[in-house]
Assembly symmetry: C2
Homo-oligomer: 202 residues x 2
């Protein structure tokens, strides 16, 4: 069975792929608006992890809608949720009867696709939308990450990652300058996967 895992190069989507690997034919998918070379970073990490990887260019109007949302709201949640849901729907629209996965954890607040939205995606597109880390809390995920990955952590404005935040930040920087980026996005710790520990698979 095929599973397409939405992949940012961060620890959660990497771990999600690893958790599915024994049960699915896993392919990683990185979505981009081609505003930054985020997909290149994701591809390097995918190679390191040993998974097939492809890049999907999303329609620019999705980013524009997200831009409108964050400017209106003054905070990123709805904008990031919108991009994430659009990305899942885009992958879902490509092919029926596949599994589409992401790295959402139990304690995540952004991005979030709730139970009704999950079912709606499954019904409309004839796919399975699965979140292998949904039943794992933050500490459990960290333990598993430590077992399987070597990661680099740092403040979100410094770590290059292929998540939806990077290109939205960039668009705001281009249009409104760096100060507004700092105001809209609270600085938080991001992770980038550097290496996969292989001793468990020998």
């Amino acid at each position: 069975m095929q599973a397409s895992v939405l992949f940012s190069g961060g620890k959660d989507s990497s771990l999600a792929a690893i958790m599915l690997e024994p049960f699915f034919d896993v392919g990683l998918v990185t979505c981009t608006f081609s505003l930054l070379p985020v997909a290149d970073h994701a591809r390097e990490t995918a190679d390191e992890l040993g998974f097939a990887h492809r890049v999907v260019c999303l329609e620019r109007s999705i980013l524009e809608d997200a831009y409108e949302m964050i400017i209106k709201d003054g905070f990123p949640k709805n904008a990031i949720d919108h991009i994430h849901r659009s990305a899942v729907e885009h992958i879902a629209s490509e092919k029926k009867d596949i599994f589409i996965a992401d790295g959402i954890r139990r304690d995540d607040r952004v991005p979030l696709i709730d139970r009704s939205q999950s079912r709606s995606i499954e019904d409309r597109f004839g796919v399975h939308y699965i979140c292998p880390l949904q039943g794992f809390g933050r500490a459990a995920v960290n333990k598993l990450v430590k077992e399987h990955l070597i990661i680099k952590e740092g403040p979100s404005e410094k770590i290059i990652k292929s998540d939806y935040e990077a290109e939205l930040r960039e668009l705001i920087r281009q249009r409104n300058g760096p100060d507004l980026v700092g105001k809209l996005f609270p600085s938080h710790i991001q992770s980038h996967v550097v290496e996969r520990k292989r001793e468990y698979y020998q």
Copy 2:
């Protein structure tokens, strides 16, 4: 890392154990009030699946409290939730720093441990409570079950399973007769695992 999986012999807890197997040292745990020989059935299934298995006798007062609840409520949800949460807490109280897992799926309504209750268990007992199927809908679980297990399905009153319902039904039957059992528990399809498909592991 050790994971204790609450195990009924049904498809969900069996699949949960299988999903964790590549990443954890998995042991199955069946809880009983010693009212029915439910643990014997679970042990047979655990042997078939190839997992270590142990039986834990829960305090009878938990079943008595559940009995009070279902008689008062007129439906089983709160009673089953109470037994399930008590079972998780009992296993959690045995040992710090382990992973305790169950077979709860995204679309399950009973039993249910919500996000706050999960965190509360983790904080109070110093464990990780994980639900590997929490991010999988019914159809996705069924597909995975079909890949890995041969199951037998039938109405809930006919399938012998080591879930919390079996002994609660029996207690009500002993005290109030079979008619009340039929009124309190809507008949639904239960599953019992008969065999594990091995071709994926050779």
